[in-house]
Symmetry: C2
Subunit: 334 residues, 2 copies
């Protein structure tokens, strides 16, 4: 009886698979938000090459690892990294439990919306804010806090939920790669536990394929229940030269494709192309001040300078957002 049903389910699944495969491959375009041009062509050419079993450059599905930076590559990062907006809101939420923050920097400045003073405190101030807002609770509690924030917070410029601030062309690219048996990973300087609660829903990337910066956690019993407590101590910074380290630690194989947008992604791209066989590297260049933002060499957020030089020198694909993307955000009026 249950064998019979299992066989039926398998048959249905097969028919479904056949249906979607036929349809998706027959569809004239899986990347509708990309304008025809060199960027789109380079992506399609790479994918067709490594999935063509008759090609000397064929790569077996298990090795089709693609890594994506998050901030500025999959979703926007202006006017400030979204995780920082989360941290600032957490300072306000937690302030009643910390009356001393009214007089203590950098918290005082956050509570007074004085971003200039906050940023003047540099990395040290930001780290203090992160530790005060990201540690002390359990992993389950933190995950719920992030979910609650994402469900209610609005982007200051568009008034949209932050999860609407994802790039439609990149969502299509993720789906296109997965339809071709790629395993898609996030490799971000952002917090691993900040991204995991929503990465599957927003990007279709499950928690085990999210790599990011982290603080230490500790296993202990609270009220006779085992929990992981988040400690105010850096565990790993998944940025710049940390990205190849994080990739190796989590994946244990070298990606064949890497996507980024800033100098923080340079070493990840270098590590990717240094493997043997066909490789693909792409930088998203923010060039559209009207529909998004335009920034690169002189921006502190998403600073893109050395990586842009190397991309030009080595012929990596550079997406010109203004030229290459028909749609940037799904909520844009068509």
């Amino acid at each position: 009886m249950s064998y019979m049903r299992s066989r039926l389910i398998t048959l249905w699944y097969c028919l479904f698979l056949l249906f979607i495969t036929t349809n998706s491959l027959a569809a004239s375009d899986l990347l509708p938000s990309w304008n025809d041009g060199p960027s789109k062509k380079s992506i399609i050419k790479f994918v067709q090459t490594v999935t063509d079993q008759s090609s000397p450059d064929y790569i077996q599905p298990a090795d089709r690892i693609a890594v994506f930076d998050n901030d500025g590559t999959l979703w926007a990062e202006q006017p400030m990294y979204f995780q920082l907006a989360f941290a600032f809101e957490q300072v306000k939420t937690l302030a009643p439990q910390h009356p001393e923050w009214k007089e203590k920097q950098p918290f005082k400045a956050v509570l007074e919306n004085d971003m200039k003073t906050v940023l003047a405190g540099g990395e040290h101030a930001l780290l203090e804010i992160i530790m005060a807002t990201h540690a002390g609770n359990t992993t389950d509690e933190f995950s719920q806090t992030v979910k609650n924030w994402l469900a209610t917070a609005k982007h200051p410029k568009t008034g949209r939920p932050y999860s609407d601030m994802v790039y439609q062309p990149m969502l299509e690219l993720l789906a296109y790669l997965r339809a071709n048996d790629f395993k898609t990973y996030i490799v971000s300087g952002g917090g691993i536990e900040f991204m995991r609660p929503w990465s599957e829903k927003v990007y279709g990337i499950p928690p085990e394929q999210v790599i990011g910066s982290s603080i230490k956690t500790k296993f202990e019993y609270r009220d006779e229940t085992p929990v992981l407590v988040r400690l105010p101590e850096i565990n790993f910074i998944d940025d710049k030269a940390g990205k190849p380290v994080g990739i190796n630690q989590h994946i244990g194989r070298r990606p064949i494709a890497a996507f980024g947008n800033s100098d923080g992604d340079l070493q990840m791209l270098q590590w990717t192309v240094a493997g043997s066989g066909p490789r693909f590297t792409l930088l998203v260049h923010h060039t559209d001040a009207d529909r998004e933002w335009a920034y690169d060499r002189s921006s502190s957020i998403g600073h893109l300078d050395k990586a842009l030089n190397e991309a030009v020198e080595k012929g990596w694909t550079v997406v010109d957002m203004k030229r290459d993307w028909k749609t940037i955000f799904a909520f844009e009026k068509k």
Copy 2:
């Protein structure tokens, strides 16, 4: 043309899938090396429950995470952890480059096969040996060294390659779980980079599903090529209370099934059962001095004491190797 071929391939794949599904589920027994008894029954009952869509305890495939300790759970660990045998052999291989080792402990003792003196040095001595043999090279070089060792080294008791010292019933269990859409992970106190070069071939577990202890690595250029250099500095110890931490760091979800054999696995099992919904935990108890080894509460290797008490108290499945396993190693005469 290529769409046509893709459709044909999909159809073939579907027929193949249908064929194997029908066959495997129709097969009377997917765990032939397990004697009929409570251990085998408890495994099958759990898997049938969580995969039965009509059950209130149904669990969707994405959440079917199963974690396995390695030493003493998937392969043997006597007369010493196999990674230690690897380290000792590496000391001998590297000795010509370190003439000072002839007079310096603990290396002197290793070179003289004086295990008593080596072990008398305690953890500190072993750590010195691990750092001297596991660091300094690149990740690619280390991976190759491990592969070379595994291809040639022989177990001191059986004379078999170490990769033959895996438990046949556990290989069947891994395959049975994967056939039911479980994702199988290794969560071991052993070195993550020591296991990854062979885990896929031996267990069908790909590198990205291997979690273990690690040393730090550093991204740098050597001869104009980016490499990850292995540093003589502990990064993470994936043992005892470290196992839930490692699981959370790598997987980001709680397993629904956990398999271990020693007190080093206790917290991993506690963390697993503390989740809501159906959970399965199993301890392998080494009870067969004839076919394998018999040890538990008084052994330093694979020390099993508190976890055994808790298993009995809480009704976890305890495999009695002598009673439950028809075959232990595939090379045994039938």
